[in-house]
Symmetry: C2
Subunit: 320 residues, 2 copies
């Protein structure tokens, strides 16, 4: 069966049914799919966070190498990552879908199924959408979240003296892309969801800036220092790498550090913490932050006066 066999309204009805099935609309949804717009409730003292992201066939995924469900799951996780980086709790999302009429319905439904799986897990229901004919398949998501007034995590809030931390590990997404491109089988990497960590971070009193690692650690740290008008020193020897990463990279003749520094799509949280604080001269350390955030946290450098990102390891400094 092809997309053209069910048509636009048929497709919408199928998606709406699947979204309703076992989706348990979040408490925030007053009017969900089916009206001109969805209506969502925020709690008192909350502000709205909104972000949009797209996954386009041929650019972000390929039917030949990306399982359809995985493409859908990744698409929502990528968008949710922006909410995590603001410290927001998810409220719901809208889906704007394009598909060529000749596309196998199973592929499209796999994609949507992947989105809905992640939506359920994150408590972020599908609340509305739109379907159009297109030359390629694409999903464009607008994800809505709520954050305590004035407590959204920002990328422009780093200050000299802040210590730089990152959750989880870096490089696995880039390795997966390289392996797939070299004929090593279909894509299989699924990035983490750091929503709980982001919300915990927004409750900390000593947090500085925060961003999610989507363009790659160096690029995203670059965004932070540029927006904040500061510089950064990165201790490259402390980058958290996945287990077995060096060996897997060696097999493909890849530089593990290059992947961890510039790979992108890690969707970890990169954040800074002010030094000092109650009783601790340096502020909270890795163990405290890991416990508070519910994710492994690694300290990887510090914010300095100046501009740009410099890396150092046992051999000395490098400008990136």
């Amino acid at each position: 069966m092809r997309v053209r066999d069910v048509g636009e309204f048929g497709l919408i009805a199928r998606i709406a049914r699947r979204a309703a099935r076992g989706a348990a609309l979040g408490g925030a949804v007053r009017i969900g799919i089916g009206d001109d717009a969805a209506v969502l409730r925020l709690r008192r003292g909350e502000e709205l966070a909104v972000t949009t992201d797209a996954a386009v066939e041929g650019v972000h995924f390929r039917w030949r190498t990306t399982p359809a469900r995985l493409a859908g799951r990744r698409a929502l996780r990528a968008a949710l990552s922006d909410l995590s980086a603001m410290g927001a709790r998810p409220l719901g999302f809208t889906l704007s879908l394009t598909a060529p009429p000749s596309l196998a319905l199973a592929a499209l439904e796999g994609l949507v199924g992947g989105l809905l799986t992640e939506a359920r897990a994150a408590g972020c229901p599908l609340v509305g959408g739109n379907v159009a004919r297109g030359a390629v398949a694409s999903v464009t998501l607008a994800v809505l979240g709520a954050v305590r007034s004035g407590r959204a995590l920002r990328r422009d809030a780093a200050r000299p003296g802040d210590r730089i931390f990152v959750t989880g590990t870096l490089g696995a997404a880039a390795l997966d892309v390289a392996r797939t491109e070299r004929g090593g089988g279909p894509a299989r990497h699924l990035p983490p969801v750091r929503l709980a960590s982001g919300q915990a971070l927004a409750r900390l009193s000593r947090v500085g800036a925060c961003i999610d690692v989507s363009d790659g650690l160096l690029a995203d740290l670059g965004h932070v220092v540029e927006a904040s008008g500061v510089g950064a020193q990165l201790d490259v020897s402390r980058l958290p790498l996945p287990r077995g990463f060096a060996r897997a990279c060696a097999k493909l003749h890849l530089d593990p550090l290059a992947l961890a520094l510039a790979g992108g799509e890690d969707y970890e949280l990169l954040f800074t913490v002010r030094p000092g604080g109650s009783g601790r001269p340096g502020g909270p350390g890795e163990a405290t932050l890991s416990r508070r955030l519910g994710s492994e946290v690694r300290e990887i450098g510090c914010i300095v006066k100046g501009r740009g990102v410099r890396g150092f390891d046992v051999r000395g400094f490098t400008h990136f």
Copy 2:
């Protein structure tokens, strides 16, 4: 100059600059373009309304026949129409853009310029977005609004006895499409913005259901009666047609009533009002509603028990 000459980040920077220039960020925007997500403030006692809409080259517009700015203006007006139909005031919108690298930058900037023109007029600033390579150009918008808690206008709230009204006129958009398709020159129709009317409607105490006329009057009235579990009788002789419409249709051998009933993209408000009320046995009439809504309003039928939409004129009843 082509899209590829400025690249993804160049394009984002150009759009962000234009959005900032004279855009006067609405009072709702706490964090605009440039962070992981935008943060918007609602007023106390308000809920969030969200809707998404896409305009895809080759489906919703054609470079050959639709001036780029007009395509952009229409795209935002179409999305704002959904907010109007909920009775919401606009807060801001996100833009997810796809473009082929070979596209003339001027075309894309015309499209974005059209969006921003309407954004300024509606007080609905661009707060975030996303750019991706695509086989064709497309803009996908998520538009955010605020509505007083529990006062959103719904399509499922029509009751037997309600009188049916519509703002403005019907058929001009369909006529413009027909004229363009038959070689009558580039598209030029720009649908109305009914935001103020929708908000006024949401303040009325006797309003029933509301929807915007996007699929065509019959289809959208069909959505209302289906969602509400009722039927409707439409007085076809009372449909509000644009000035000179019959003559323009005759020139193209088109049936004016067919365009007004089924044409679509009129983006007028179709709503029902409960009968009776203080001092008036039939409830407010056209004059009162036109004054309150700030748009011409025409009474075109009534809601009845049963199912489906029946039309009547001097010749009798027809089932659609």
